[in-house]
């Protein structure tokens, strides 16, 4: 129904969650963009690994078994992380902080005795909507899921502000809503754009690490961790579609290792892994 939305699109871009967040709406809806950025800023503040006063910093600073008061948004994301950890038999694990600090993809600042952080997502216990405790010490990093959640929250803020159609893109994790097609280009792992598609009313997330690797003592490492703590070294882009961006974001990490498993989980979230054969069909 493009003709019912003749208004010109505008896009704003701010740096949040370690990347560039773009919000596109019709010009008439510009006033609703500010609350959407505020929703993202709030999630950034709660779930930053780097910031010393985030919920994550507080969760790693207490003794095992100690209850920590956190934001409701953090509880929502941790609940989802626990469900996905279960569904993937441990493959999706937000306790990747230790591996990522060790491989220097995350800063070590203020973290001593890295080997003490032995817990996994299964050791996170949700007490209620605002309280969490960890049975073991663990370094939680929500880099694989918080951007998707932030996109969903920004979309909700735009919709609450009366926006009928828009797109929120947090560094490639994006969600379109409303009766309008959005052209999206897919940047492959080698940084070249070869394919694009039109999205309507759904979320998409992509991951790649071909150009984001480190060699430590002769071993190649990436910011994505697969089974048994081994780095996922995937030379191609992985793209996932789903209704909600939090699912799409999290499932890219699973799809990098096991696309069939990701597809089985995505089937319950109205989503799927975009396979190379699907793009070839149209070529």
């Amino acid at each position: 129904m493009l003709s019912s939305l003749p208004d010109k699109l505008v896009t704003r871009c701010q740096p949040w969650l370690g990347t560039f967040v773009e919000i596109s709406v019709a010009q008439a809806d510009m006033g609703a963009v500010e609350p959407a950025f505020r929703a993202i800023a709030h999630i950034h503040a709660c779930m930053s690994f780097h910031s010393a006063d985030s919920d994550l910093a507080r969760l790693r600073s207490v003794r095992p078994g100690e209850t920590v008061a956190v934001d409701e948004e953090t509880v929502l994301v941790l609940r989802m992380a626990i469900a996905l950890h279960d569904a993937t038999e441990g493959l999706f694990d937000v306790a990747v902080g230790r591996a990522l600090v060790r491989s220097r993809f995350l800063p070590r600042e203020g973290i001593t005795h890295l080997s003490r952080y032995t817990g996994t997502t299964a050791d996170i216990e949700i007490i209620d909507d605002r309280h969490v405790r960890c049975k073991k010490r663990l370094l939680i990093d929500l880099g694989g899921i918080a951007k998707g959640h932030a996109v969903d929250r920004a979309v909700a803020a735009l919709q609450a502000g009366g926006v009928r159609a828009g797109l929120v893109n947090a560094g490639g994790d994006l969600r379109a809503f409303g009766m309008r097609d959005w052209q999206v280009q897919l940047r492959d792992a080698d940084d070249v754009v070869r394919h694009g598609l039109a999205l309507r009313d759904c979320a998409m997330a992509s991951s790649a690490n071909l150009h984001d690797r480190r060699r430590v003592q002769g071993v190649q490492l990436s910011p994505h961790i697969g089974r048994d703590g081994a780095p996922s070294l995937v030379d191609h882009r992985v793209t996932v579609l789903a209704e909600r961006c939090v699912i799409a974001d999290a499932m890219t990490k699973v799809a990098m290792v096991d696309a069939d498993l990701a597809d089985r989980i995505l089937a319950t979230h109205n989503g799927y892994v975009l396979r190379p054969s699907m793009t070839r069909e149209a070529a």
Partner: protein, 175 residues
């Protein structure tokens, strides 16, 4: 293919000709002013940075200013708007920082983003495609903005740039 899958795939992928680079203009200087200081009068307070300023900024922030000209505006209520650029590994980014009267960051907006690769930056033909699209150019966002999904791009250079502008404020503008 199930009905639900079909609805998400109302999006038949198409092959594109690869563009040379990602380029987006979000805000002109005038638009950034109106957005970040709504209803406030901004007075230009541009000033050159001396060698001593540059050395002090580098020492305080760990980052050297790219330009010797500080593009700053003072708001009637004592706030500041600073427009500056950073160069990352593959990109030029123009961004605006709004500071309140105490020098705290109120907001950061990306104004434009130009992704480039190696020799393209030095190639005058490649640069010419952006000529005239900077200050004052009308927003043509349907054309200019490309929604891209791929490996996550880091905004670290912009965050470093904001830190550098906070040092610049303390050394050059405050007091």
């Amino acid at each position: 293919m199930s009905a639900s899958r079909k609805s998400l795939l109302a999006l038949v992928p198409v092959v594109l000709v690869a563009p040379p680079a990602h380029a987006a203009t979000y805000l002109t200087v005038e638009q950034a002013q109106a957005l970040m200081f709504p209803g406030e009068t901004l007075t230009p307070a541009f000033r050159p940075l001396s060698n001593a300023d540059v050395a002090a900024i580098r020492k305080a922030s760990g980052v050297s200013p790219l330009s010797r000209q500080l593009k700053a505006w003072r708001s009637a209520r004592g706030g500041w708007l600073i427009v500056d650029q950073v160069v990352g590994k593959h990109e030029f980014i123009t961004f605006a920082v709004a500071l309140d009267a105490s020098g705290a960051v109120r907001s950061v907006e990306i104004m434009d983003y130009r992704e480039s690769y190696g020799d393209q930056v030095r190639n005058p033909k490649w640069r010419a495609q952006f000529a005239g699209k900077r200050n004052g150019a009308a927003l043509q966002l349907d054309k200019d903005i490309k929604n891209i999904s791929g490996a996550t791009l880091s905004c670290r250079h912009v965050i470093d740039g904001v830190k550098r502008l906070l040092a610049t404020y303390a050394i050059v503008l405050a007091g």
